[in-house]
């Protein structure tokens, strides 16, 4: 799924990386515990989270993810957005809650993908 399609489906505002929204992610992972992301993500390109700190971005960088979706109206600081932009990650924010966000993306064909250590 193209990243711009994700933004469209979630009615999300793109906060950085608008020039990279044509790139494609094949699966997504949703989590608020960063060590779980580090344990279980394999090739998931998209991280959905309700957390908003710089470690979310650094965790996504570690796993070579392409896109972070901040759910339930969470707004990252400029510093957090800049950090993501520097690493080539697209950041978007949606008012949708976590459950609904995941459901919409899944129903539209973005799967969970394979899980490491699963």
């Amino acid at each position: 799924m193209q990243i711009k399609k994700i933004a469209e489906l979630l009615n999300a505002e793109i906060l950085c990386g608008a020039d990279r929204v044509d790139s494609v992610a094949n699966s997504a992972f949703a989590c608020d515990m960063m060590s779980d992301v580090l344990a279980f993500v394999r090739d998931q390109g998209v991280l959905l989270t309700g957390l908003c700190n710089p470690q979310v971005v650094r965790t996504a960088v570690m796993m070579d993810m392409k896109c972070i979706v901040f759910v339930r109206g969470k707004r990252p600081t400029e510093e957090v957005v800049r950090l993501a932009d520097e690493s080539g990650i697209v950041v978007m924010a949606t008012e949708e809650r976590m459950y609904a966000s995941c459901g919409v993306l899944y129903a539209n064909g973005l799967p969970g993908g394979e899980i490491a250590n699963g």
Binding site: M34, S35, L38, L51, N53, R58, M62, D64
Partner: protein, 139 residues
């Protein structure tokens, strides 16, 4: 040249910067031409250890030594130490308080992740003195 060393002071007072050193190592290893797989394993293991030093040990020092056949990560702190290493190594074991959990850490997955992502991991810890972790990834 038999090794290249990267040294970092890990600030224990400032959670905002936690993980910065690992992001920098990731960039440097990329510039050095390592495979994405090796880069991910080294940087994730270091990242977990770096975060642990900030949240559990009030900071410390990190050294990454790049040899021709392996990459070694040494994390040393003067924190409270780990009383029971076997217990700490178990998935899900965490002493992190609620304020740390609300930052996204404290799942008790860090040490198991470090072990899983590296070829060798040794922990030396003394209660009241500190903890030193040496991890190796063969290249």
């Amino acid at each position: 040249m038999d090794k290249v060393n990267f040294h970092f002071e890990i600030d224990g007072e400032n959670f905002t910067s936690a993980g910065e050193a690992s992001v920098r190592i990731k960039k440097m290893l990329r510039e050095m031409g390592f495979t994405p797989e090796i880069i991910r394993r080294v940087s994730v293991a270091m990242y977990e250890g770096e975060i642990n030093m900030v949240i559990h040990a009030n900071g410390g020092e990190a050294d990454v030594n790049v040899f021709c056949d392996r990459i070694e990560i040494i994390l040393a702190d003067r924190g409270p130490g780990i009383p029971n290493i076997d217990l700490a190594m178990q998935e899900g074991y965490s002493t992190a308080p609620d304020n740390i959990r609300s930052l996204g850490f404290g799942a008790g997955m860090g040490l198991p992740n470090m072990k899983r992502y590296t070829d060798d991991m040794k922990i030396e810890s003394e209660v009241g003195k500190g903890t030193t972790i040496v991890m190796t990834v063969n290249v």
